[in-house]
């Protein structure tokens, strides 16, 4: 028996009917055709399906679709705005952090969640934040570098805090 859900994906309200056992990943990929989130294991081991649920990184294969009723979901398709890459996406692209690209959406979402919480992470903090996202291509070096680079770019683009002036 299908249930009707309403939630917001990447800022857009959506309404879908799903079976009770449908996962958020299945709902995103098959019902909403948002195929950016990937299925690598379907049991919470690989991190390729990482999305944000109300701003927190979750594994979409371990979340039932019905659990997101009324909530906010952000996927990799929602990172770029108006055709402009998010600094994380740009850094992944410019630094060769995406080889096959299959883990990339999940990596980006975990990294995005990290930077929302901790704008200036140390390399060790980046390692910790991405420990649930497996990559088989890169050895992680360029991924870690890209996240650190993106954090710097975001920081530099923020207006200087009030009360401080030059000289």
């Amino acid at each position: 028996m299908k249930e009707r859900l309403r939630f917001v994906v990447n800022g857009d309200p959506v309404e879908v009917a799903v079976e009770p056992a449908t996962t958020l990943l299945e709902c995103l990929r098959q019902d909403l055709h948002l195929t950016g989130s990937k299925q690598g294991c379907d049991k919470g081991d690989c991190g390729a399906c990482t999305v944000l649920l109300d701003g927190r990184a979750v594994l979409a294969c371990l979340v039932l679709a019905r659990a997101v009723d009324g909530r906010q979901v952000t996927t990799v398709e929602g990172l770029a705005s108006a055709g402009r890459l998010h600094p994380l996406q740009d850094a992944f692209d410019s630094q060769g952090a995406a080889q096959c690209g299959f883990c990339t959406p999940g990596m980006l979402m975990s990294a995005f969640a990290l930077l929302e919480e901790n704008a200036q992470p140390t390399l060790e903090e980046v390692r910790q934040a991405l420990a649930g996202n497996l990559c088989r291509c890169t050895g992680y070096t360029k991924i870690l570098d890209a996240v650190v680079t993106a954090a710097g770019v975001i920081q530099a683009s923020r207006p200087a805090p009030p009360g401080r002036s030059g000289t």
């Binding site: 690598g40 890459l85 060769g96």
Partner: protein
Amino acid sequence: MSDQRQGGPPGPGDGEAAAFSVIGKRNRKVDGRRKVTGQTLFTDDLQPARLLHGKILRSPHAHARIRSIDTTRASALAGVHAVITGRDLPVAYGIIPWTRDEYPLAIDKVLYVGDGVAAVAADDERIAEAALELIEVDYQVLPAVLTVEEALAHPETQVNTFAGKGNVSKQVRLTFGDVEGGLAGAEVLVEDTWFHAGSTHAAIEPHCAMGDLGADGILTVHSSTQVPHYLHRELSRVLELPVDRIRVIQPAVGGGFGGKSEPFDLEFAVAKLSCLTGRPVKILYTREEVFTAHRGRHPMLMTYRVGADRDGRLTAVQARIQIDGGAHSSFGLVTTYYSGQLLGAPYRLPAYEFDSTRVFTNKPSCGPKRGHGSVQPRFAFECALDMLAERVDLDPIELRRRNVLGPDTRTINEFRITSNGFLECLAGVERASGWKEKFRRLPFGRGVGVAGSTYISGTNYPIYPNEMPQSAVQLKVDRSGRVTVFAGVSDIGQGCDSVLAYIVAEELGVALDSIRVVTADTDLTPVDLGAYSSRITFMAGNAAIAACAGVKRQIQEALAERWGVPPGQVRLADGCATAPGVPSHSLPIAEAFQAAEARSGTLGGVGSYNTPKDVHGSYRGGTIGASPAYSFSAHIAEVEVDGETGQVRVRKIWVAHDCGRALNPMLVEGQMEGSAAMGFGEALLEEQAYDERGLHRGPSLLDYPLATTLDTPELESIIVESHDREGPYGAKEAGEGPLHPSIPAIANAIHDAVGVRLTRLPFRPPAVLAALQARYAAGLAWKGHRG
């Protein structure tokens, strides 16, 4: 316009002093923006209308005869559209034409736990799974042989009935030079036995395929394959359809590493199910199915005898290797040769013999994994060299230097070596790691180790004998200034689509964003043999340069005529055509294309590459391992070993690799880092293991531990460029070679740290602790070299 390149004089782009616009730069990948935005479509992202979902029923037994299969109830289930069994696909196939020894679905008997027996197509995956439950298979369980010893002891329990008799899959014994004399005359002899337990690729994208028989009678198969051309041929054989009725398309592939380099049951199943239903049918492997599809690194038991004189110069090497092949041949014929043939460099072996035997067992088939067939022997041999260095009291790097083979020579097994940057690799890691201050000088529990290796840049002979080019590129050169590159190559993440774009941009002076690359579609692209044996940059790169040559000439001639200069003075670079000295002799590239099109007609180019065919030994098997060029690598690993727990931590690996020329250093580093990390995982974490019933011990990405960000050591890449005279701009391979030294460098570092020589992979804490305790028990407290 058609040009072919082959081993020979330098072609365009080979100029040593050429100032490149695109080549050698850290350019972005042509598919990068799509990958970071989630727009890249992998096979499972294709969701056409009327799509059916397939599932495969798999054997719970390691070895059993199929008495009967009843699919009646499954076929009757609502939402099920078709059910097939092995009898529906009765033609045997195999990636190597001489060993076609598998069926898409088992017919008479199953050979391992996970062997496919039936497949269904249904409205959705859940209905398909429910239908599998309704298929009744009557098995007569047979004795199973799960180890090499059992398989050889019980030839009457034959695993693969295509084998002549018994369970020997392939045996190769080759002798070069006076091995007995070299060993007898050796002043120092090192002998030991090493074991590589076998590992799997574990690409993050599971295998996926979709078949779609169109109303026009054309069967299209999309697949996450890394060999669309070979898949195309085998689909035609098995489905008994003419090859021109089949179109194979390889969408973006989420990692391969050799794990997608032959046909799998799902590709035949979706094709057949679509032919039966007239609807598109897709199958996505579960992660468990990926583990049992396997075709990963063979377990190898390797005994080496290495002789040398007192100065550490090798006198002879003798190897005896047992290879656990699993249920089918796969690439096993090649694996068996590679286990011996690829040891001929980077050291000069005055005499060499190997005797390798591959054996069938009732387990998932092994095949090619990154560094096919040679990673295991390299582990053993580089450890033996370390033992040798200790015996003759030489620095292990110095021992290696004393035995180098050098450039422009032949190996003992008669392979032609051209460029060779191995010495620079050794020097690079020695310097960067601070080796001299560390080796034998770090406190107990910390150590460094070194290892070297070589690998092929493609093979001189294709899998099925033919004289045609191994790779080809076609160009559509448009008056808008855009160039479309058509090539059969398989981008599996390594970046070959981008490499082709860099080359064409360099040759024709077009901006990178004006290049479109269309690859791996048998209806649209000329044949390339696939992403295996590290062949694409070398072969398709040369084909791309050849494809550009004629077009470039036409453009130069058109502008030379207009400007009154010799054609050779017309330069195409950075989006412009120019002639030196006269500022007015400058045109945007689109107008240059228009000038040439007006003068010569529609522009286009075809180029191909074929390998040199006369650069190998004339003995049987002398062609296997022959390559147009060889890459070289050296690693130094620094480790910490906890003497209480046996835990090994690799702090850092310095990776030097001679790739000839880095067409994009960023992509080369990515291959070096990824290779070293994969080798690291094999050294410490991974094992493709089965229990006594033949069940995989942990077919998940949690139980089969892939290294995470927290495990993976710091990696530092040092690119060495030896400028190979036959490679495109001097380039050679970078995708597989840099994996080889990881494992022995770590093993040798563990010895430097705590004085034990580990010979069985993986080096997990219990094994390390047991070795340490054995050493303590023998009263050999490790004083090391530190006094």
